[in-house]
Symmetry: C2
Subunit: 191 residues, 2 copies
């Protein structure tokens, strides 16, 4: 999506350690008028897929998920991060590994709100190694829900997550796909 690539070039900051900082419009300060345009694009891509639920993960996925859901006229369910083991039989649970912090945590959703009647679009702000997205897909599979696909704002296409998940036959649409970036000179290229 050309508009998003322009925005990333104009406002994104590349930092050492493979960090693309977009907290000025995406995941701290949120440029809501702009995010609505991304939501409309997700709707264009998935409009005819019978989506009846959007699933995301707290915290930075929630805003873009809600702004997207209004075009689908469907609810959003956000998975909650949990540091403690959840043994409740009322929750679907899966495990996320954070490569940044080298820690594991669970993500949970209530079984009441994710069922075999759901056709789910998963929305998230970033896709890199795919651990969060894989965990959300697993929640859907445990619930017997159909994963229609994923809508990602920014994919680090040089990392393995997107490729691995597409190889499983899951549709992944990323609005910007970063091919490479360089903290030394601030350059970024898109696929």
């Amino acid at each position: 999506m050309e508009l998003l690539e322009q925005k990333i070039r104009a406002e994104g900051k590349i930092r050492e350690g493979d960090v693309l900082k977009v907290d000025g419009f995406l995941n701290h300060r949120m440029d809501v008028d702009f995010l609505c345009k991304l939501g409309q694009e997700f709707y264009r891509l998935y409009a005819d897929c019978g989506v009846n639920k959007i699933l995301t993960i707290e915290a930075s996925g929630i805003g873009i998920a809600c702004l997207t859901a209004q075009y689908f006229h469907c609810p959003v369910l956000f998975a909650k991060k949990s540091r403690t083991l959840n043994l409740s039989n009322k929750l679907w649970t899966s495990r996320v590994h954070s490569y940044t912090h080298n820690t594991d945590h669970d993500v949970v959703v209530s079984k009441s709100y994710l069922t075999e009647n759901d056709r789910v679009l998963i929305i998230d702000d970033f896709l890199a190694n795919g651990s969060a997205l894989s965990a959300l897909i697993e929640l859907c599979q445990k619930a017997g829900a159909e994963v229609v696909g994923a809508g990602i704002v920014i994919e680090k296409a040089y990392q393995s997550g997107g490729k691995a998940i597409r190889a499983r036959g899951i549709r992944v649409e990323s609005l910007a796909r970063v091919a490479s970036m360089n903290a030394a000179d601030g350059s970024i290229t898109f696929c």
Copy 2:
């Protein structure tokens, strides 16, 4: 707001320990079409106040804040919870006490995104003892930003937070104000 009171009566569940469970439409599964109506009501209340930023706190405030902000055509800034002491001179920080968990944590926003040029509407899902709202107000005060007011979805009016904050001269608009609720018989009354 009559529509919201009806929704709470129909879908809310009252649990022991002063819990009003509205995770079916507000803070886990989010009924986005319904939340848009709440956003429109916040806009009606604050439309002529020159709001140029909406401030909320992760995670459950983000959805309603984003859906509200699109009517104001302004960005959302969400304060991040931090368990660790933040000594960065790039952050505004304030302390929140959780009465539920009897713990303290910091909330932080980047100084870049909250400044003396901001006229801030604070949005949150719940107001009870007021600790989160007070912390958000403090962030604005540290930044020299003007707090136009607060927009709360559900206020537990029998707790002290709303009264104390209004007594400081800060406008607080709550779309539903719970006067009392009873877990034993499931009854709820509104102000």
